[in-house]
Point group: C2
Chain length 317, copies 2
């Protein structure tokens, strides 16, 4: 097993100040802050399914951790520790060096310590578990939305999906727009600061990974509510805004996925406080609709009902 | 993503009394007992590398969790929670039903709650993260062995490796012996009770997954010591005992791996207490050697030095 241990030591071992014991023993050891719950989430990324086989390893490293940190943001948890299990078809050191560079760039940016892991031989597969802390009882959940809540989304939606469509040659983008969209696709920025500040404001929260309608749908299903959403109110890149009449653009925003923004609901009484948040965090927060008693999601555009039946939106399903 | 969610709901969702929030949200939530550290370990198992493609899914399910629980035993931690990420080439419901049956059989036996996970499409790959608790400061580690410590191993070694050799047709076993060895290979029993009781007795501990010499070697490397080990003193199945002169049998015991027993060192002053433990737990505990100042491991058999250079023992490396 020597090659395995050399890999861990060489590419994934670093000081882990937030843990009592990091990489190197049978398990890592840590202490959770008093009065806090531990939040845990695991995500597996497979070459061919979650990223292209020839994607830049730096980007794969960044995104593997970022998508997990996003789950912490969605719970209102502070991300703190992560473990990484990776299967590699061969020991490709330049690839590993870049992968770990991207992973640690994300870890450093979000102050997450990599405290354990496993490397093995096999088809490329990356499994990251993230752990964070949230004051007991304050975690944001999917099932807390209330009737007549405001529905909000952070940031600008659709760019990552548009970047994917560009790579798949479904659309041609100017180089500047392409660059923006591909950056959104390859190196998303999870909204941890927003998640933390929403703890006592929002009733429910989820991160947008599959797509706004799909993920908002999880909140609504768990809370037994429906929603109305105005496409016009969803912030998006100028390029998408200018072409909002087109089906492919509408699909990118509503169903594209890979945004890693937060969708959340909050009482109307919190509206002003949330608008203040947007300024404090210098982050667009769009009020896009409200929860309803009638189940299902109705999307309007220019005050007209938009057809979002599966037929039109299964490109990205 | 509906198929993914149906899988989680159908096969992997159960009540999780030990967690505050289990499967179903962006993350699971739990509270660590006051005065305890959280121990975390992750293992990835790949078809073709860790198990045969046509291995019984019940066994794969059991073993995926068991090998992780064994890491908890090696730390002296009480295993409590687990998450499972699994990539499947296709949705094969009979396979999944059996896999989850084996996984939960192990979980129930060791009182572990499955609190989260991810299922995705891809070549078969199973990533399990285990979490447990240990009183702060009492975890058993690899680097705590002292000079002149007694070296102990639990249970009987070599059976699982012999089972593997039988499957690979390197040896032919009578059906009763084969059955015992294959059970050891497919459904190992991690030594959690022993791990807990060793907390204030042992100086160091590791679980035997790669093989006795390899894993004992990790303790010695971390503690900057060597060891002498008497092959004769290692408990093993009668079948191996009768053929202890043969190289293949010696290799199974010393280097076969997959035993998931514990190897640990303790001060000589604990000798009697540990012998008492063996009776209390109804578990063989073999005193097999001692730590030395001179680095490296010397193995003796019938008081003669045994040649364990890599050449003779790389079958299982």
């Amino acid at each position: 097993m020597s090659p395995e241990f050399n890999l861990i030591a060489k590419y994934f071992t670093r000081a882990t100040p937030s843990a009592d014991l990091g990489v190197g023993d049978d398990a890592a050891l840590l202490r959770v802050s008093k009065g806090y719950q531990l939040a845990i989430s695991i995500d597996m990324l497979v070459a061919g399914t979650h990223f292209f086989h020839d994607a830049a390893p730096y980007d794969i490293g960044w995104k593997s951790l970022a998508v997990n940190i996003s789950d912490m943001a969605a719970m209102g948890a502070t991300p703190k520790w992560a473990t990484l299990a990776i299967a590699l078809p061969e020991i490709n050191e330049p690839w590993l060096a870049e992968f770990s560079r991207g992973l640690f760039a994300c870890a450093d940016r979000f102050k997450v310590d990599l405290i354990g892991g496993d490397t093995t031989r096999g088809p490329l597969n990356i499994s990251v578990q993230i752990m964070g802390e949230v004051p007991t009882g304050e975690a944001l959940r999917r099932d807390g939305a209330k009737l007549d809540d405001d529905i909000w989304v952070s940031g600008k939606l659709g760019s990552a999906a548009l970047g994917l469509a560009h790579l798949q040659r479904k659309i041609t983008l100017e180089s500047e727009v392409a660059e923006h969209c591909l950056q959104a696709l390859h190196t998303p920025m999870p909204r941890t600061d927003l998640g933390l500040t929403l703890r006592k404001k929002a009733n429910s929260c989820i991160d947008i990974s599959d797509g706004l309608l799909a993920d908002l749908g999880h909140i609504l299903d768990a809370s037994n509510l429906g929603a109305t959403v105005a496409l016009d109110n969803i912030a998006c890149h100028d390029f998408l805004r200018a072409r909002l009449d087109e089906a492919i653009i509408q699909q990118c925003i509503l169903a594209g996925g890979d945004d890693y923004e937060l969708a959340f609901t909050a009482p109307q009484s919190q509206r002003h406080a949330i608008e203040q948040l947007a300024h404090q965090l210098d982050l667009p927060l769009s009020l896009i609709g409200k929860t309803t008693e009638k189940l299902g999601i109705e999307v309007t555009y220019k005050q007209q009902l938009l057809d979002i039946s599966k037929k039109g939106f299964d490109h990205f399903g």
